[in-house]
């Protein structure tokens, strides 16, 4: 995975901190809870300095009790607050699974009562962190109607989408790719802005092949696109940004233009984002296709610790180039 992004400006992690800070300044009903987020400033320091500014009533350190404090987020949201829950690593979100999928996700459907809350945490691999600190669990949550699922791929989107998530009246799962935290920088607008949820972004325009991707794989896709260009293949890169509900139009429009589609994602292969998008393209864009839809993803396995294993596990630029080459034959 490469990150040849803009090296000036605001880092991905600072963009997230800024979004939280500015939203908390704007709306007193917003508060954050999670483990070690107060004086310590969070495991990755996203909330460094927050407790001094906003106080312990709005930056609440929690004991290790994900099921409890995610459920408390639902309760507070139903009482008119706008809670933001930090899970220390996205991997630990499974410890609060039941409250998310049964309580938060199904509330509005049954009662028309809104649950405006955000659950955010660092996801993703590439840091030799092994099976329990590297997962990309967005696929699990994208399967649950009632939740919105966001994985931003750039600092601009990280900030704008987090603001949009906080202002949204639904439970939103927001995964921050920790590999990008300090590796990606971008000059951000000075004023307030949001990025709409459920809107994909064409990060690079091209004519021959579409890569649909998100998260840290956006950088892999862009690098593959640059290298394909050297061979005269023009690649369009679509960054989903929101995993669910999906922006079908942007995907279908791109495939209508290029006639070829690659799904590139870090989550495991089967029954995931790639399968869903392939199905959408097959159902609604079939007549535009000139070749098979190809998935380039992690394999159906846990994420291993050892460097050669993890490198094998993660989709690499060469894997994407091989898929591009394969499609060039059509």
């Amino acid at each position: 995975m490469s990150t040849a992004g803009n090296q000036k400006g605001t880092s991905y992690i600072d963009a997230i901190s800024q979004a939280l800070w500015e939203e908390m300044e704007r709306d007193p009903s917003i508060f954050i809870m999670g483990e070690d987020i107060g004086i310590y400033g969070g495991a990755f320091k996203v909330t460094e300095g927050f407790i001094d500014h906003f106080g312990p009533e709005r930056v609440i350190d929690m004991p290790i009790a994900e099921e409890a404090f995610i459920g408390m987020g639902v309760g507070a949201a139903l009482m008119g607050m706008r809670p933001i829950v930090e899970v220390q690593y996205a991997d630990f979100i499974s410890c609060g699974w039941d409250q998310i999928v049964n309580v938060a996700a199904k509330m509005h459907y049954r009662t028309r009562d809104a649950v405006p809350m955000v659950i955010r945490g660092p996801s993703g691999a590439g840091l030799r962190a092994g099976p329990f600190h590297s997962q990309s669990p967005e696929g699990w949550f994208a399967h649950v109607p009632g939740l919105k699922v966001i994985v931003p791929g750039t600092p601009y989107d990280a900030k704008g989408l987090l603001k949009a998530a906080i202002r949204d009246d639904n439970p939103v799962i927001y995964f921050e790719h920790k590999y990008l935290y300090r590796r990606l920088k971008e000059v951000l607008p000075t004023g307030d802005y949001t990025v709409p949820i459920s809107k994909a972004d064409v990060q690079r325009e091209g004519d021959d092949v579409t890569i649909v991707t998100y998260g840290a794989m956006l950088q892999t896709a862009l690098e593959a696109a640059r290298r394909a260009q050297e061979k005269g293949i023009s690649v369009e890169v679509v960054d989903l940004r929101t995993i669910f509900p999906l922006d079908k139009d942007t995907i279908l429009n791109s495939v209508a233009k290029t006639s070829k589609a690659i799904m590139l994602y870090e989550d495991t292969r089967t029954l995931g984002i790639g399968a869903e998008i392939s199905a959408i393209i097959a159902e609604e864009g079939f007549e535009n296709l000139d070749g098979p839809i190809i998935r380039v993803s992690s394999p159906d396995a846990p994420i291993p610790y050892s460097p050669p294993l993890e490198d094998f596990f993660l989709p690499q630029v060469d894997d994407v180039l091989a898929a591009i080459d394969k499609l060039s034959a059509y």
């Binding site: 483990e35 070690d36 004086i39 310590y40 495991a43 350190d61 004991p63 290790i64 009790a65 994900e66 099921e67 409890a68 991997d91 630990f92 499974s94 410890c95 030799r128 962190a129 092994g130 099976p131 329990f132 600190h133 394999p299 159906d300 396995a301 846990p302 291993p304 610790y305 050892s306 460097p307 050669p308 294993l309 993890e310 490198d311 094998f312 596990f313």
Partner: protein, 325 residues
């Protein structure tokens, strides 16, 4: 079956001393390697916890099961896990117990009576209770023991498993190492009870607080609980009071911990205390101590070299072993 007695003999005392010293030497080496950027992953050091780490697990017998957690590498030494296995695991080599798949201290060997546990806390409280359930169903005189930190006792699974183990009267010993902090969070922000062990009454099982820096006390109290479990007396909750002497993980300078506290607990160093105990009884001299430490240092250096010279797994093994068969 033959079990250890409550009173430790000379050979056992010296074995315990060896494990405590070996544990510390391994950790000191890991710390250096980590700081030198030699390890791919993280380290979670249990320095200062040697007494409970070794003392409790030493009370188990072959055939019993131990489920430690992220900081409890040293508890695995009495179960037969070796320095070489610990370093190959950290170095992510193909000959490690997890063949490069698992990280830092999450290794084990069912045959030698340790589980390869996971990060999610305290996921092996229920699993240890499940091992005990199997022992009970099959009428085997075996015991399961599990460790976690006081921070992990805030999780529902902790309470659920102790309650069920009590209801089913399972042969399991629950150890909580109260080392003052869960990551950056001090105990007073984790719970209102004065002692984790006080919660035992909520499950109608025996609970005990031990001095977590006194290895003899750690052993004796745990040994009584192990014997009780083996004899059909059900679970026990043991809380060891100690201090985490390093940051949460290798990257954490732990600026939130007062140096006075660390100084205080440095004076209570469990190894120094045990050495004084051994010296008083004529079991250890400066000379024999030097000899033991030299032997251990050589063992550790040998293990580091062995790990560094061991190959990595091949990339394609990443997709192997997801299923049996």
């Amino acid at each position: 079956m033959e079990v250890k007695s409550l009173e430790l003999n000379t050979q056992q005392l010296m074995e315990i001393y060896y494990f405590m010293r070996l544990g510390r030497a391994i950790e000191e080496r890991l710390e250096l390697l980590y700081k030198g950027g030699r390890l791919p992953g993280a380290i979670y050091l249990g320095r200062g916890q040697e007494a409970i780490e070794v003392g409790a697990s030493y009370a188990l017998e072959p055939g019993d099961m131990l489920a430690p957690t992220h900081r409890d590498m040293m508890s695995q030494l009495p179960r037969g896990i070796t320095a070489k296995e610990i370093f190959t695991q950290h170095y992510a080599r193909t000959n490690s117990l997890t063949r490069g798949k698992g990280e830092d201290n999450y290794q084990g060997d069912l045959k030698r009576g340790t589980f390869a546990t996971v990060s999610m806390l305290p996921d092996f409280y229920p699993v240890a209770a499940g091992a005990a359930l199997a022992f009970k169903i099959r009428n085997e005189k075996r015991v399961a023991m599990t460790y976690c930190g006081e921070g992990a006792t805030s999780v529902g699974d902790w309470h659920e498993s102790i309650n069920v183990a009590s209801v089913l009267n399972l042969p399991v010993v629950f150890i909580v190492i109260n080392n003052g902090y869960a990551y950056s969070t001090p105990v007073y922000k984790e719970m209102k009870v004065a002692n984790v062990a006080d919660r035992a009454c909520a499950y109608a099982i025996p609970g005990a607080v031990v001095d977590g820096n006194d290895v003899i006390e750690c052993y004796r109290e745990t040994k009584k609980a192990v014997d009780r479990a083996r004899d059909g007396g059900g679970p026990t909750l043991i809380e060891a009071k100690t201090m985490r002497m390093r940051g949460h993980a290798g990257h954490d300078p732990a600026k939130y911990m007062a140096t006075e506290i660390i100084d205080l607990w440095t004076r209570r160093d469990p190894i120094v205390r045990f050495e004084n105990y051994l010296i008083e009884r004529g079991l250890l001299t400066d000379e024999s101590k030097r000899e033991i430490i030299n032997r251990i240092n050589a063992e550790v250096e040998d293990a580091v070299r062995f790990a560094e010279e061991s190959p990595y797994p091949e990339g394609k093994e990443a997709i192997e072993d997801v299923y049996r068969g």
